[in-house]
Symmetry: C2
Subunit: 345 residues, 2 copies
């Protein structure tokens, strides 16, 4: 074993200037272990020493070195909201704001912090996982995953992960809205309003939400004995909605109804309609999806389906919390969606 570690009381090698627990302990006249206990609020420490330590902490401006703490506890106290989309997308769609806020709200009385991680433009989605494997975060809520690679890879992780939206892989916990049912309700509403030449702008087809909303749309049409008057693929964004709307108008200039799989796409489509001289709802009725802020600010206000982003996220947060506490549950939670009737349909 080592002979002498050469650290006699006086000169410690604290070059960085940041005070260490050792410094605090010395200033308080106790041992490191005791100081640690006093600070971590935990166990049996006399009021007297607790005060002394607290005073030393304040005096020295001590802050625990998280790296050292993590190394031994194997926990970082940080939870992630992982979004495999670029920051441009994340900041331009209020859906993500709701999700982040929802997850945070599930941890308000919990002393973990919640960070938002987005992917850089070039990066493959799996890079997000390195964030988990590196041990920098204790668990995560993943939203807006494309394909199933990421989901599949999470199974090798030790940290708990909860998805928002069907991950497309069995046995993984997730929360979602019933997109098929929601799309059916939306489409039936259009039919009920007298539309007969109905089209849809889908979401990203590499995401279950995109496929399921299209499916519900087709179901409702079939149920009423109608053929779709057009199907254009979008990607949930405003720009995607505009492009898709142009396609739709070109192929079916006489369309009288549009179901868009997101409010952003619906808003983009409405602008294209307006530019092309169509009146909403007189000529074309439009239903969106998400019940986001955007749906209240279009002219006319957009009829939409509740997306329940905040609730999904809150529930996902709770599920994550349970997993962290050793009470995982791996079955999905499915919320239903309701029609919010406004002027556009």
């Amino acid at each position: 074993m080592s002979t002498d570690d050469g650290r006699p009381g006086g000169a410690n090698g604290n070059v960085t200037g940041a005070p260490t627990l050792e410094d605090v302990a010395r200033a308080a006249g106790v041992s490191r272990a005791t100081a640690s206990r006093a600070i971590n609020g935990g166990a049996l420490v006399s009021q007297e020493t607790r005060d002394a330590v607290t005073r030393a902490v304040v005096d020295l401006g001590y802050a625990p070195n998280q790296a050292a703490r993590m190394l031994v506890t194997k926990r970082s106290g940080v939870l992630g909201v992982l979004v495999p989309e670029t920051d441009l997308r994340v900041f331009s769609d209020p859906f993500f704001a709701s999700v982040y806020h929802g997850v945070v709200s599930a941890f308000t009385d919990h002393d973990a912090q919640v960070v938002l991680a987005m992917s850089k433009p070039g990066q493959p989605a799996e890079t997000m996982l390195s964030y988990l494997t590196s041990g920098r975060i204790d668990g995560a809520v993943i939203v807006s995953h494309h394909g199933t690679d990421l989901a599949r890879a999470t199974s090798r992780l030790t940290q708990p992960v909860v998805f928002i939206g069907d991950p497309g892989v069995g046995g993984l916990p997730y929360v979602d809205v019933d997109s098929v049912q929601a799309a059916q309700v939306a489409t039936r509403h259009l039919i009920g309003q007298g539309c007969r030449r109905i089209t849809t702008i889908t979401g990203a087809m590499d995401m279950p939400a995109g496929r399921q909303r299209q499916q519900g749309f087709l179901d409702a049409l079939a149920e009423a004995g109608l053929e779709p008057a057009g199907v254009a693929h979008g990607n949930f964004t405003d720009a995607g909605g505009r492009t898709a709307a142009r396609e739709l108008l070109e192929a079916s200039p006489d369309l009288d109804g549009i179901f868009a799989a997101s409010d952003l796409m619906a808003a983009g489509a409405m602008r294209v309609l307006s530019e092309a001289g169509y009146r909403v709802p007189a000529d074309v009725r439009v239903v969106g999806f998400d019940d986001s802020e955007a749906s209240r600010q279009t002219t006319p206000p957009l009829t939409t389906m509740t997306g329940r982003a905040h609730e999904m996220a809150r529930i996902a947060g709770r599920m994550l919390r349970n997993s962290l506490a050793g009470r995982p549950f791996t079955y999905p939670v499915i919320l239903n969606s309701e029609l919010v009737p406004r002027a556009s349909a």
Copy 2:
């Protein structure tokens, strides 16, 4: 190809399942030190052993334990964009999206990751600093700081920090737009358009940008021999702009010009004007600030001043990078702002 699954050598106490450098070294038949060198790409390692180590890394799925690495290197490889505002605010103002994106763009060819930290509703602003003092991030760009407490506290830090917007404390590096000049230009434009009963909706008065834009407004008016027809205080948000606009209309129903210190406030004000039966620009001319996406989507499109958020952030990012590299510079960088004439004025 060592295809041994399970834990070879048995006796290590690796309970967590995550392979350690020790495991890699053993699998490659070298010592920890050598494995470390091979992985960190660094120094003198023979091609042969480098390959062996690389293979072992892949086989075992090894990922370095960041906590351990941080503990010894004293660096985390993470940079922060610190915003002492709630997530609701951050997500609803595109200014922050631009800032984040700008900072990220300054680090694209750099292998540090950039995280966004916002404050929780209750939290005092200084809590943000604990993120720095804990050693979890190596440096930060701070934006939207209120008051000077936070700025003052940063002087005790060892990590470099760059502000966007005048921190109000000398000797700290920051980048800003010349708000006084910009507000003057905006106000002169209003005057040039024939406005005579001109008002302003200010930003938050505990922020230099808020005070300076008010100052520039007053300067330009004085220069033209005019009295302000009203001054209402906002907080840069849409809701704040609406409230302020109502105050203004109540006090001066005959106003014919509004300079708002942000596009969001201008947009809110325009909606209030419209509801109250005023036409823009016929009855009232409006100029905003930021040249954000929002300014293009109002009806009519908003005349505004370039806020240059992205450029400021990019420059701040570069300054941070220089500081990290040991080349700090502590003088401010001030960008000027230009008028973007659109239909509202």
